[in-house]
């Protein structure tokens, strides 16, 4: 794709803020995209550098740069923790608006609708807190769901809720359902003592190492999988964790009123239904646990995990016959 002329009128108003970024890089540790992709250009600092370069006319926008700018889950870990107070996501949103206006085709972390699968049932529309989804008329008889690419925050609640599985998101940063399934499977198969799988919201901090690995010392009976929001934890993900051999599943989300996307309310409803289903199958509903943690409550999370592992050890593994019933085997 050839370079397009972009009027950076919205982005330019942030030049002073971009100067305030002293490029310390402390935001790396907090960025889920950096942890997945490991390129500095995926970090909040990297994105700010790219925007600065474009408005200072040092680099010309191209598809590679645009793709980076449109990759962000808006978890705001960076802006909430930036000691220089740079409103990273606000700068990013304005840069996105400038690039969209110039006609760039973008994907990034924004959701995509497969029109062949979408029945335009509209379930997703009221789910989106950012009003990024709407029903549009294509012609007199046909309608479609349209995604506002500037407003979409990539939280993925609509992906988890779509009954036709018509909504999808970028692969490669462990957020899609197949990727999460794979992660659960790897954890359980790699570590034989693995009893508990924890789906931990990226918005609340989680304990343990962030950017390094230690293959020699991991002996924990639990594995943490970071999801973009507890609202993204689809029921089949939990059921499959049991199928793979987990003794229990904990979903750790932000407390009510604190979730940016209102995803936690959906999780709560979903988990009540799932627990009822377990009861029907003669499996202890206590094998699913929902806990709320605010940002910075990693010590509380650690304690909750320790206690829950003890509970699970008392319960023991799920009997195989019940799991087969559960997944239809």
């Amino acid at each position: 794709m050839t370079a397009k002329k972009v009027d950076f009128k919205r982005s330019k108003k942030w030049e002073q803020e971009l100067n305030k970024c002293i490029r310390c890089g402390y935001c790396y540790e907090l960025c889920p995209l950096f942890k997945s992709y490991t390129w500095e250009s995926d970090t909040p600092r990297g994105k700010l550098i790219l925007i600065y370069g474009m408005i200072a006319d040092e680099i010309k926008p191209n598809q590679e740069i645009v793709d980076k700018i449109f990759q962000c889950f808006y978890c705001k870990n960076c802006s909430d923790n930036c000691s220089a107070g740079v409103p990273v996501t606000e700068v990013l949103t304005d840069a996105r608006a400038d690039l969209i206006e110039a006609g760039y085709d973008v994907k990034g972390t924004i959701v995509e609708i497969d029109e062949n699968l979408c029945s335009v049932c509209g379930v997703c529309v009221p789910l989106c807190k950012y009003e990024a989804l709407s029903i549009k008329d294509i012609n007199k008889d046909q309608k479609k769901i349209e995604v506002d690419k500037i407003e979409c925050r990539g939280c993925g609640l609509c992906v988890a809720a779509c009954p036709s599985e018509a909504i999808s998101q970028i692969e490669g940063c462990d957020i899609t359902l197949p990727e999460l399934h794979e992660k659960v499977k790897t954890l359980i198969q790699t570590y034989e003592d693995m009893k508990l799988i924890i789906f931990c919201c990226n918005w609340s901090l989680f304990p343990g190492m962030q950017l390094s690995e230690s293959p020699t010392i991991i002996k924990a009976p639990y594995g943490i999988i970071v999801t973009m929001c507890s609202g993204r934890v689809a029921p089949e993900l939990i059921l499959n964790a049991f199928h793979e051999g987990a003794w229990g599943v904990m979903v750790a989300g932000c407390p009510p009123e604190e979730c940016d996307h209102d995803g936690n309310y959906k999780t709560r409803r979903r988990l009540v239904l799932l627990k009822n289903m377990l009861k029907e199958l003669n499996i202890e509903p206590e094998r699913i646990k929902l806990e709320w943690f605010s940002t910075g409550e990693s010590a509380k999370l650690k304690n909750a995990i320790t206690e829950y592992v003890k509970e699970l050890e008392k319960m023991g593994p799920i009997k195989k016959i019940e799991i087969q019933k559960m997944v239809g085997g």
Binding site: E15, Q16, N19, K20, C21, I22, R23, C24, G25, Y26, Y28, E29, T38, W39, E40, S41, R45, G46, I49, L50, Y52, G53, A56, E58, I59, N62, E64, I65, D67, K68, C82, S83, A84, G85, V86, G208, M209, Q210, L211, S212, E213, S214, P215, T216, I217
Partner: protein, 476 residues
């Protein structure tokens, strides 16, 4: 200098290198004022890959600039001659923790805080943590001989290096040092690599000494009416024989900045001192704290708060922890630049150096904060000015010259813990002209083709402003 991208791809695979403009531009800068574009970014995962890349680069005389977190403040990782940037963050495994030998073996990309998270499970820790420990890599810390808030008791990176594996400029691999606390067998070559800023070899594995976590830590904060009183308190604490595990200073500029950035509500006094003692016997820690508190009070220290509680200590330290970045918020229109940021002065010169910094800043129309690990003589500053104006860059140049002349005149050093890189090189070369031929000879012997992080340290340009593009948009 033509880089064969296919060759690079053969070595590290298609997902571990990039020559697209988005990556090149991001990797062209660090936390310094400098900026220069590389030709390709390479992310090796194994020692063999590093060897192959360096071997290829040496044959073709392509510059190779190793890079950890890219949090350097003087342009160490800015590839002034282009070429390959070797991003070592993927070599991030803690290979072995040996509590029985009190050592740890790590790859260079392991992050300092992560290492400590792992060690804490064994009741151990790795002490030389810089303020950037949440992202700083062990490789980068070795390259800069980094230290941090606890250097007053525990020393710097060099005091913890036992051994290392290093890829030399011809691609060969050497094992330096030992697994023992001391060795006496010729040149201490592992020490030579510490502080070499990637100019002599690429550290691909490090064996570091570790130490038990103390059972008790007590942190206190004291307010002072003047910077001079605070500076003299620090000097007195050190000469009194007290053993602080932390002794930090923050001036009024710093206090105002963290209050603005984080809404901390700290009293906006002349200066604040944070002092900490640690140990395994509470009475001994109490004794040290009481002694230091007494010295503070003798110099007019007031509002002294003290705590053993971890959460409370975190609260007391929060302003200092985030000060570096918070300085950006000191005043609208004024930008915080990483210049003249980490000089070291003798213990007796802390107060007068701190005051001199403010005097030089005022005379040259810039603002400077004074803070740092003053217990070990480290004085951090930042030069804050309107970076869009050419005239202000001239002001900054004058400040740097005057400041370093002063620091050197009182027996201080250009850099205490961040390294020389590009922006500190002119002042450092002026002060240490006697050692430059020796350093150049070592460099030539180990890297005859001058491929490893060229034109840094003793070979850096004499004009730091023109050494590279400035990363700021300078207008008039």
């Amino acid at each position: 200098m033509k880089i064969d991208i296919k060759k690079i791809e053969e070595i590290v695979g298609e997902n571990n290198y990039s020559d697209n403009i988005a990556d090149l531009y991001v990797y062209s800068s660090d936390a310094s004022v400098h900026q220069a574009m590389p030709a390709v970014i390479v992310k090796p995962k194994t020692i063999e890959e590093v060897q192959k890349i360096v071997c290829y680069a040496n044959k073709k005389k392509i510059p190779v600039t190793p890079r950890g977190a890219g949090s350097g403040t003087s342009g160490h990782t800015v590839p002034i001659d282009g070429g390959i940037v070797l991003d070592l963050k993927q070599m991030n495994r803690i290979l072995e923790i040996r509590p029985e030998d009190m050592l740890v073996r790590v790859e260079p990309g392991v992050v300092d805080d992560d290492l400590n998270r792992a060690l804490n499970q064994y009741g151990l820790f790795y002490p030389p943590a810089p303020a950037s420990s949440r992202i700083a890599t062990i490789g980068g810390e070795i390259a800069a001989n980094a230290s941090g808030v606890r250097s007053v008791k525990y020393g710097a990176t060099r005091d913890y290096v036992l051994g290392m594996k290093v890829v030399l400029a011809d691609g060969s691999l050497v094992n330096l040092g030992s697994n023992t606390r001391v060795h006496s067998a010729g040149y201490q070559l592992e020490r030579l690599i510490v502080g070499s800023e990637g100019t002599l070899g690429i550290v691909v594995e490090a064996t570091m000494r570790i130490t038990p976590l103390p059972k008790f830590r007590c942190l206190a904060v004291a307010n002072f009416n003047s910077l001079k009183d605070a500076g003299n308190t620090i000097s007195d604490i050190i000469t009194s024989g007290s053993q602080p595990s932390m002794l930090e200073l923050m001036d009024k500029v710093g206090i105002i900045a963290v209050n603005k950035a984080m809404n901390l509500g700290l009293p906006e006094v002349g200066a604040i001192i944070l002092f900490e003692a640690d140990g395994n016997v509470k009475e001994a820690v109490d004794y040290e704290m009481k002694k230091m508190k007494g010295i503070c009070e003798k110099h007019g220290g007031s509002g002294i708060e003290m705590s053993y509680d971890a959460a409370e200590r975190k609260r007391l330290f929060s302003g200092r922890k985030k000060l570096f970045a918070a300085l950006s918020r000191y005043k609208e229109g004024i930008i915080c630049t990483d210049l003249a940021d980490d000089m070291g002065v003798p213990n007796s010169k802390i107060a007068q150096t701190a005051e001199k910094i403010h005097e030089i800043a005022e005379r040259n129309n810039v603002i400077m904060a004074v803070y740092g690990h003053c217990g070990s003589g480290v004085i951090h500053t930042k030069i804050m000015f309107d970076t869009t104006k050419k005239s202000q860059w001239k002001d900054a140049e004058r400040v740097i010259e005057e400041l370093y002349d002063y620091v050197h005149s009182v027996g201080g050093v250009t850099s205490a813990e961040h390294g020389i890189g590009l922006s500190k090189a002119p002042a450092w070369k002026k002060a240490r002209s006697d050692i430059l031929p020796m350093m150049k000879a070592i460099k030539k012997a180990l890297d005859p083709n001058n491929i490893l992080n060229p034109h840094k340290l003793m070979d850096a340009p004499d004009d730091w402003v023109k050494a590279t593009n400035l990363r700021y948009n300078v207008r008039s």
